[in-house]
Every structure is written in structure tokens, then in C-alpha cells.
Amino acid sequence: MSAKRLALAAALCAATMFTAVSAEARTLRWARSGDALTLDPHAQNEGPTHTLNHHIYEPLVMRDRKGALVPALATSWKILDNDKSVWEFKLREGIKFHNGNPFNADDAVFSLQRAMAPSSDMKGLLTSVESVTKVNDTTIHVKTKGPNPLLVNNLTNTFIMDKEWAEANNATKPQDFKNKEENFAVRNANGTGAFVLVSREPDVRTVLKRNDNYWGKGSEVPLEISELIYTPIKSDATRVAALLSGEVDFVQDVPVQDIERLKGTQNLHVTAGPENRTIFFGMDVGSKDLKTDNVEGKNPFADKRVRQAMNMAINRAAIQRVVMRGQSVPTGVIMPPFVNGWTPELDKAPTPDVNRAKAMLAEAGYPQGFQITLNCPNDRYINDEGICQAVVGMLGQIGIKTNLVSQSKTLHFPLVQKNPPETEFFLIGWGVPTFDSEYIFSFLYHTRDAKFGSWNALRLSDTELDKKIESLSSETDAAKRNGMIAEIWKKLQDETYYLPIHHQQLAYAMKANLDVPVDPENQPKLKYVSFKGM
């Protein structure tokens, strides 16, 4: 009897010590405009979905808060010396999933293969992969079709699942929309990340608790939050009100017009910074004649002078000041500053000069200007419709009369994506998840075919340029490759196929005792958060 009592006393003692060791209970309530679509890590390649999943799951390699690649479940990675088309990943040892299963090479191989399944939305990032094989318990090889120096950049949102867990719950493939059953992984999760899923009510509330066994805990990752409550609040005014009334602690998607007011509020703190996303206009440069213009028999956009004149007519500083209330970074290139290939020279926005623009337009044979229809989304980017309205006015100053059609993103993007495109002048925004210029080139400039150019709505087809772009993907000499990138940008900047406007800027608002810097990919990772003072 007394032995039992002793054991009980010891257990109680251990329990109290344990609670004393782990940091005090601290809840962070987090709100943003939309919910993650699913917890299945491979079913949706979408920002808010990845953001939430980053707290539960981990990829092999991830980006830290400055955008640099850092080890996650892989400790090191390299291209094999004897075969340039094979990447070798060394895996972290001694890691356990939330359910206690050990993480090993089988899980990594399984997860990458799952991400390449037909019903996966991540497969677009892994098209270069030929096979994934286990070498031993802590090593895997990823073989690509020809050398791919950037494979690692594509893996930062490809999360690793537990093979046994997925098999036991019949979730070895992402949701198929023809299947009548809900995939188990949609609302359940078992990762290795810093937080463990407690409950999930889609569109209402997701509760996570700290993973006390998290491998990465240390000076970089204080992991002070013991409970994370994630709530989507769609209405801007309500979201801001919830922060003001103290019902939430941290808010993403702060409306531009509220930033100043929140900054001036006691006990609140606002952080701002550029997002990995650039807003720009594109136009049909490839057609013989345009449908929506009033010029017969030729395409004004095919003339470089017209494009340059338009670029010169846009007053980016005015857009920044009036439309964006200062919350943007005007630019001269369609590449965010984090991307390999970006230089301050490329980024320099052209000085607006209406008279010279008019002269150039006259020189190109359009002294009276022309008419054109502009397609614009009104619910996708920050103040997207306002940007379009401003540009309509600016182009009007040089005689280009623009008929503005702005509509919801579900109607706008199909115009750009259809083959052939159904727009001749359009606004889009573009982020670069690989942080490398090649991504921009192959999606936005390369001739449209089965593999490339899915966002090239310019009808641009330049075989010489295509060849240069394709050669980038297999060039493993970094210095040589960067030289090629610079050369391509030089040509593209002169051609002015797109009209860059600005880099979108993000703002987060939070309680004064918190400091969450803006994440370039808009994926704040809250394991880094520590509470100040209090």
C-alpha cells in the first residue's frame, strides 16, 4: 500500500515539475480573412492553406523569416558528384510525428510520391522529378529528368506525412473530387511540426497546442505559445474590431485604410514589409490584330515604342500615394526583391514623362492614341480595381482610351488562362515561390505549350528566348547561370512586354507585447514568436 502511495507521490511530483519546466500557458488568437482550404498538405497549393499547415507539418527544407533556405526535416542536401541529376537528402534523426511514430526515409519517399499523385495540387512543382528512392533510413535520392539545380527551392511547401498514419487512415492519395467520401487527411493531421492539431472546424476555428517534444526548440525558436487559436474573419471591419476589442491577438490581411488608425491605438503594434508579389499589366503583343481596339489591321501593342510609351505614362508614385496610401513599393521590373536575379537597377521605376510618351506614341503612328479594353480583377490583390482606374486615367493623358472591365477573380483569371487568352490587356500579380528568375521566365515569358507558359497571356512566342530559358534549368554552374539570367532580363526590360506597377506590401497588426515581422511569402511562422515584457 505504501509503495503504491509513494509511486503516486512521485508521479505527482514529476507532474508538477514538468509543468514548472514548460513555459506558462500562453494562448495566441490569430485571425485572417480566409481559412485554410484543407489540412491535407498536398491537396491545395494555396497560401493560407500552406500557412496553417506549416505549423503542423514540416517540409524537408523551409524558408526562415527572411526568405533564406534552412534545414527542416532534411539536415543537408547536395547534387551527387557522379550524377548531376540526383539530389541527395540527409534526413534528421530521432524525430517523431505527433502520434509517436518515428520519422524516417520511408515517410519522406512516401510524401514526395503522394505530392506527385494525379490528384495532388503540388505536382506542378515536382514535374522535373523522375523518381524518389530510399537509400537507407536517413538518406533519400531524388532523381530528376536531367540536372535541376533548383529542385530544393521547389520543396519548401511540400510537407512530409507519416506513411503508417496515412495508410492506416486510407489517406495515401489527396482528395479526389469524384470520390464521395471525405479524405481523412482533410480534417485530421499528424505532422512533425511545432504545433499539434487539437480541433478543426473549417471556416470557424482551428485549435493547435504546442508540441513539447519539438526538435527545433531553442534560441531561434522559443516556442512560447502554448495554444494557438486560428479564426478566419471575413469582414474587414469585424476583423479590425475583434483586434480593437481584444478578442484576437494577431491579425493578418489588415485593410490598407485601417493601418494608420491601428498604429495610433494604444497597446497595438503594426508591422509592414514587402510581400513576394509584384503587380503588373500585360498585353497581347503576338496577335496580328486586336479585337477590342479601334485600329484596323494592326496591333499597336506589337510595337515596342507603344509599350515603352505606356510604361512611361504611368505615374507609379501617384498610385502608391493615392491608391495604396503608401503601402507599396513602386518598381520597374515584374520581380520581387527577394528573387535571384533582382538588382536595384532593374527595380528602378521609370520616371513618368507624359510629353515624351506622347511623342513616342506619335512616332509609332498613333498621334491620336487608340482605344482598348482592360480586364481587371476586383477581389484578388490589394486595391486592384483602384490601380486599374488610376492607370486608365494615366493612359488617357497620352490618348489611349481604355474601357475598364473589372470583375471577380473567378471570372478574371480564366480570361488570362484560357488558350488562346480572352483578354488583350490585363492586370495580374505574381509571386515567386522558388525565389528564382527562371520561374518567372518559364511561366510568364516562355511560349505557351503543354509544359511552359501557362501564364503567358501575351501570345508571345520567341524561340530564341525560349531556348535561353530552357537552358537555365540544367545549368548547374551558379555563376554562369546568374550571368544568363541577367542577360535575359536585359532583353526583356528593353522589350517592355509587361508594365510593372509595384511590389505589394503587407501589414500585420497585433498586441503590443508581440512582434511578428511580415513574412515575404505571407506565411507567418508563429513558433518564432516570443512575448515581450508582461
Binding site: 480566409g34 482550404l37 484543407t38 491535407d40 491537396a43 491545395q44 497549393n45 494525379p118 495540387d121 503540388m122 505536382k123 506542378g124 512543382l125 514535374t127 482528395q175 473530387f177 469524384k178 470520390n179 464521395k180 467520401e181 471525405e182 479524405n183 482533410v186 472546424e201 473549417p202 471556416d203 470557424v204 476555428r205 479564426t231 478566419p232 474573419i233 471575413k234 469582414s235 471591419a237 469585424t238 476583423r239 474590431a241 475583434a242 480593437l244 476589442s245 481584444g246 478578442e247 477581389d379 471577380s408 477573380k409 473567378t410 471570372l411 483569371f413 480564366p414 488562362q417 488558350n419 505574381w430 509571386g431 511561366f443 505557351r448 505549350d449 503543354a450 509544359k451 501557362s454 501564364w455
Partner: protein
């Protein structure tokens, strides 16, 4: 009576199919769901494949017939946005909307009738006139403004009530309720006021004018002549006779409160069907939109039927000569 109900139900089925048809034919104007369903890295081929996989490349009549066939078996498909069965998602959202709508309807009816009667009896009183003037504000102010205004006063400034969500809920079988917890009840107050305000003013004005009408009629005058006390005349004879149009309007309003709580639910991040529908429209989530619109039609059919039955209870003349009169 039974035949009457049966006929109403048959008419209801026709209404449902017609609504489904109209809704379906409008979905093409909402946009292309595929653009939202794949990431920006998807190739042209991937997009085409998904379009084909979802059957979105099929001509409209075939898509519609396929939807009808499956819906008849209770299968509304998988939500494109959430990757979950539509029926399950809607069942999960229904309790929030029903609780909000029913409480708003009760609030609007009880307070509306009471104020309406008061305004009719004390027609020239100061309070009655003030209430009437205020009701004009209720009719003309948009719902979202009322909602935001209430949030700023009661959540941000006074911090008495929560600004969003349903609070803590209790699960009773397949139903979740916020009526059993303190935070759940607190969370209900502002949305109920917001959603019920318009109906309240409507019912109040209706009751007042109907009541004034009835009070002028002969049988009230005779009742007075017989020396029946005022209270009895007002509440037993006059009020009862004003109720027929009031029940019609209140019934129809209950339908629209359930169906179109969209604005209120969005403002308060209320996890009901209206908020679900708004998200579905923005994503072009066709299965959810279709199921929601059919559901709304169903609610109206049922509410209309219930309203008709309520007439029978209120108006003895209808009971005396049931279907023969028609």
C-alpha cells in the same frame, strides 16, 4: 386537408426543380472553379484534365441532369473549396443559421407585435410617435451598417459582447447549440438584433396600420356599444383580426431570414449557411451553391405551407369550408 397538403408538396417539388434549373444555368456567369482549385504552377494540361474530371466540359443539359440524378439520391457532390461532401458541410452549418433565424424571428414578432399594438392604441402619444419615427430608420438603414454599428458600440467601446463567432457551442447529437453556454448566448445577442431589426420594424408598422383599420370597423363599434372593456376589445377582438396579414408576412419573413441571413452572417463571422454561400460564390464552388439554392427554395416551400396551415388555425371561416371552396 390531406389532399391540400399533398398538392402543396407537389407544387413544391416543381418549384425546387425550377430553382435548380435557373441556378444551374447561372453558374457559368460565376466563373470557372478550376482557376481557384489549382495552384499557379499548374500547366494548361493539368487544368484541362481537372475540367474534364469534374465534368465541367460537358454541355449544360448533361451537367444539369447529372446533378438532378445525384441530388435525388441525396448526393450533392464534394465541395470544390473544402474537399468535403456538401451534405455534411451544410448539415454542420445548419444549426447556426436556424438558431439565429428562429431567435430573430421570435424577437421581431414579439417585440414588433407589442410595439405595433401600443402604437395603434396610443396613436397620438409621444412615445408611440417616437417609436414610429425610429422604425423608419430601421426600414431604411442597411443591415451591415446596423451590424457594424452594434459591434463598435457593444464590442469595441463597451466590451460587453463579442464581435464575432458563435462562442462556445454544445453538441447534442447531430446538432450544435449556442443556447446552453454563457458565451454562446452572448454571441447571439448582436446578430439577433441585427437580423431581426428590419423584420421588427416591418411587423410593427403592419400591425399598427392593420389594427387601426380594424378598430374603425363595425364589430368593434358594436362591441364598445355593448360595454365590453377596452382591454378585451383590443386584445381579444381587434388583435386577433389583424393577425391574418401579419402571419403571412411574418411567415414569409422567416423564410427570408433563414435564406438570406448572408449579410448578418458575414458581418459577425457567424458560421452558418449564408457565410458558407458567400465563400462558395467567391470560389465558384458550384456543388455548394447548387445545394444551397435548392435548400433555400425548400425552406420557402415549407414556410409557405406552414403559413397556409396557420390561416386555418386563425380563421375559422377557412376551417368550415375546407377544399370545397376552392
Amino acid at each position: 386537408m390531406f389532399a391540400y397538403i399533398l398538392r402543396s408538396l407537389l407544387q413544391g417539388a416543381v418549384v425546387l426543380i425550377a430553382v435548380a434549373f435557373i441556378a444551374f444555368s447561372m453558374f457559368r456567369f460565376v466563373g470557372d472553379p478550376v482557376a481557384n482549385m489549382v495552384g499557379q504552377e499548374a500547366s494548361m494540361a493539368d487544368r484541362e484534365e481537372l475540367t474534364k474530371h469534374l465534368g465541367l466540359d460537358q454541355p449544360f443539359p448533361i451537367q444539369f441532369l447529372r446533378f438532378l440524378g445525384k441530388a435525388a439520391q441525396g448526393d450533392f457532390g464534394i465541395s470544390y473549396r473544402q474537399g468535403r461532401p456538401v451534405a455534411a458541410v451544410m448539415a454542420e452549418r445548419l444549426p447556426a443559421t436556424v438558431e439565429l433565424a428562429v431567435l430573430s424571428a421570435i424577437f421581431a414578432t414579439v417585440v414588433g407585435v407589442a410595439l405595433g399594438v401600443y402604437a395603434a392604441i396610443r396613436r397620438h402619444g409621444l412615445v408611440a410617435n417616437a417609436v414610429m419615427t425610429l422604425s423608419l430608420v430601421g426600414v431604411s438603414l442597411p443591415t451591415f451598417l446596423i451590424g457594424i454599428g452594434l459591434i463598435y458600440v457593444f464590442a469595441v467601446e463597451l466590451r460587453w459582447l463579442p464581435s464575432f463567432g458563435r462562442g462556445e457551442t454544445v453538441r447534442l447529437g447531430g446538432w450544435t447549440t449556442g443556447l446552453l453556454t454563457k458565451s454562446g448566448l452572448q454571441s447571439l445577442i448582436l446578430p439577433v438584433l441585427t437580423l431581426g431589426f428590419f423584420q421588427l420594424t416591418l411587423i410593427m408598422r403592419l400591425v399598427r396600420s392593420e389594427m387601426l383599420e380594424v378598430m374603425r370597423s363595425d364589430f368593434i363599434r358594436f362591441a364598445r356599444a355593448r360595454g365590453i372593456p377596452n382591454r378585451v376589445i383590443e386584445f381579444r377582438h381587434a388583435l386577433r383580426n389583424t393577425m391574418i396579414p401579419v402571419v403571412t408576412i411574418a411567415g414569409l419573413q422567416l423564410g427570408s431570414v433563414i435564406a438570406f441571413a448572408i449579410v448578418t452572417e458575414t458581418v459577425f463571422q457567424w458560421p452558418g449557411l449564408g457565410a458558407l454561400f458567400v465563400n462558395a460564390v467567391q470560389f465558384a464552388d458550384v456543388p455548394v451553391m447548387a445545394a444551397y439554392l435548392v435548400f433555400v427554395a425548400f425552406v420557402f416551400v415549407v414556410v409557405n405551407l406552414a403559413t397556409d396551415l396557420a390561416y386555418l388555425a386563425l380563421d375559422p371561416r377557412l376551417r368550415a369550408a375546407p377544399t370545397a371552396a376552392r
